[in-house]
Amino acid sequence: MVLLIAVPSVAVCQISPGELSSAHASLEGIGNCTSCHALGKTIDDNRCLGCHVELRTRIPAGTGFHGRLNGKQCVECHKEHFGRSFSLVRFNPNTFDHASIGYRLEGKHAALECDKCHSPGHVAAQDVQRNTKLMAGKTYLGLSQECRTCHEDRHRGQLSAQCQQCHVPDGWKPAVRFVHEAAKFRLTGKHVTVECARCHNRFLPDGKTVRYVGLEFSACSSCHTDPHKGKFQKSCESCHSTRGWVEIAAGAFNHSTTRFPLRGRHASLKCEQCHGTPGRSTGRPAAGSFAIEKFQRCADCHKDTHRGEFSGRADGGACESCHTENGFSPSTFAHSSAKFALQGKHQQVPCAKCHPVSTAATNGVVVREFRVKRFQRCADCHEDGHAGQFAYRADGGECAGCHYVDGYLPATYTPDDHRKARFTLTGSHVAVPCAECHPANTVRARSTRRFVWSELPKCEACHRDVHGGQFPAAKYGGCASCHTSEAWNRLLFAHDKTSFPLTGKHAGVECVRCHPAQGAGSAAGARRFVGTPTKCSDCHTASSQGSNGLRRNQ
């Protein structure tokens, strides 16, 4: 009975409720209870941390997994006295939330096995490194969140140790977080789309590490060759921007420094209108480039809308002879240099009036005929307003004979010229307005003035016979036989040629006394002249009143 009691007591001479796990096997025995148990306090965490010193600093610091357990006691997770094979740490890597320790596994990190990172070679914490037992076994302590803990610094210290500033766990390339604005050289315009390697094409002395810092970038020429070969003696930025070489800053490039200064409307053109756009051929050499070999003549760029009309000129039809860079229209053409000098009102005539649009096929381009073949005569351009009345003349009725380029009216046809006409203007005829003798009429179905008659018009053609046909022209020779063009009352009439010559006192008698007006309301010229009684008694009466005896005839 004693043995029955003693043997078990000796064999299990301890108050432990069960064997300790293999990790704590060294603490087995009644003398080691207080290694973990504090009297009156169940399990004291300080006893645990007395051995697990690496956690003693990390828990108060709130770092790592144990530091984020919000004061949980050790014994709440780590039980004991369940035998040697009991695992103190129940850890499932597949379900463990890595974010709970302050480092979320993202991107490629999420697919890694734990020991890829948690390996002795990656332990950075010195206190963990000193613990040979931890280092020999499997520990998750001691890693730093710095990328270089596990990853090689491919930049060899050129850049910040904070790799995550540029890179993401999804992969090193591309460095999606990298913003060039953080660098001294800010990427703008087309620089933004340039592949990194285009600029960063230099290496460190090892020949393998791309150089990212220490690159020369202050001037464009650090990377770009100067196609102008220094000709402009200015910085690239003065004309160019990073938006593209072809996009010149407004007013930045002084075209005057080139062999073709931009004047007039050339100055308002867009560069690509002359220099083409990249990728789009303009037919000129090196589309999109600025070097234009042929530019000296207008025709090098501009199509001859005159279609060679002036090619026969001495200058070969050079545009600049008539046009300026201020625009093709109006031209500077001096008509005086032409065979037909513009004078008078011709100067005010729009070119298009004389130079019509060509009727030839012009593919929609307005082309005018400037070389007028027929211009020598007015009639080449002007319609004969006289309906060919003057065609009989030696000059064929040329307008210039009477008209001047200053205008049709007044005509240059003077009364002096009229004297050379078949109807010589003399006397009062000179003062008569042309229109009175030459009224509007219809000549050859045209409304015009008659200037030419087939026969010279007689006085009656214009003047009313105030004598009431007393003097037929066939008998008396017309008005001109008595009258002159000076005035009606300037008579050529010689009474002597009548059947009643005026003699004696008759010669001093006024005409109207013998030839009174006929009838009431008669015109002044309505006097009897022919058939005036010639007997004395026809005019005189035997009166004693001292008169001369003339009967006054009513």
Partner: protein
């Protein structure tokens, strides 16, 4: 105590005992069936572990029940001041109740994980319980009076004689049948010469085979025309006769066996209590104070 009250009292004890045994199982079956290494991760671990609010309670209540059960019964048996306070029988019943249920609660307190010094107490407790069950078996083989005192052989013989007379007069059994019935109770050899193991073996076998052997006898009575009801009453009387005859024959041996039983039951009880007290002291010293 009236029989009805006693019956109710016993039923109550049985009910409490059954509930106290079954309910913890129903509550913690999944926990107790979990492998040891996995238990700390079971949702009921914190409450059912030995230091948990429920598990620790099992231990405290179970221990108190054992201490009270042992203390009361021992006091009633040994202390004169308790000699006249209630019948021994009732103290024994209460002792059995407390010292059966208490250990069961202790088992739940251990969560079926036995180790350390307290394991000695546990196994001692187990030995005490099982020895108690055996002792109870032996105890009833020693007839006692109302006050619990042992009856003498003369008293037992007189009672046995009354039973024989009842069987012959009331049931009109012939001598042959009576002899057959008595043969069932007779040991194979002189009880004085039987060893303790032979005595126990005879008793166990007799208890196991008594019914079958009696049935054989009663089949003959049926053939003789005995009515079933009469045979039922006769069977009870015959059984009492067999048991009493057996007890009378082996009374001395059972007294000896019971004496030796105490040698097991008592020391283990002492060891159990002693180590229990150490276990409790250590637990309190290390801060496991249950609800305090």
């Amino acid at each position: 105590m009236k029989n009805s009250v006693h019956t109710a009292y016993v039923v109550l004890l049985v009910a409490v005992g059954v509930l106290g045994t079954v309910l913890p199982v129903l509550r913690g079956c999944s926990y107790y069936s979990t492998p040891l290494e996995e238990r700390s991760f079971h949702p009921l671990y914190e409450s059912l572990k030995p230091t948990g609010i429920v598990g620790h309670g099992y231990g405290i209540i179970g221990s108190l029940m054992i201490l009270i059960g042992v203390g009361l019964y021992s006091s009633r048996k040994r202390l004169r001041v308790f000699a006249a306070v209630g019948k021994m029988k009732y103290y024994l019943e209460f002792h059995i109740f407390l010292c059966l249920l208490g250990p069961i609660l202790i088992v739940y307190h251990t969560t079926f994980k036995i180790g350390g010094l307290v394991a000695v107490s546990f196994w001692s407790m187990t030995a005490v319980v099982f020895s108690g069950l055996i002792g109870r078996y032996f105890y009833v083989q020693i007839p006692k009076g109302i006050q619990g005192n042992e009856l003498s052989v003369g008293e037992l013989t007189a009672e046995n004689k009354k039973l024989a007379e009842a069987m012959t007069t009331r049931f009109r059994l012939d001598a042959d049948i009576l002899r057959r019935i008595d043969a069932i109770a007779s040991p194979p050899k002189d009880p004085v010469k039987m060893s303790m193991i032979e005595t126990i073996n005879f008793f166990l076998m007799n208890d196991l085979t008594r019914r079958a052997r009696l049935r054989t006898v009663f089949r003959r009575l049926e053939q003789q025309g005995y009515h079933r009801h009469a045979l039922g009453a006769l069977r009870a009387t015959a059984t009492r006769r067999i048991v009493l005859t057996r007890r009378i024959a082996l009374l001395q041996q059972f007294r000896q066996i019971f004496h030796y039983w105490h040698v097991v039951h008592l020391p283990f009880s002492i060891i159990m209590v002693a180590i229990l007290l150490i276990h409790v002291a250590v637990a309190i010293a290390f801060g496991y104070t249950w609800v305090w």
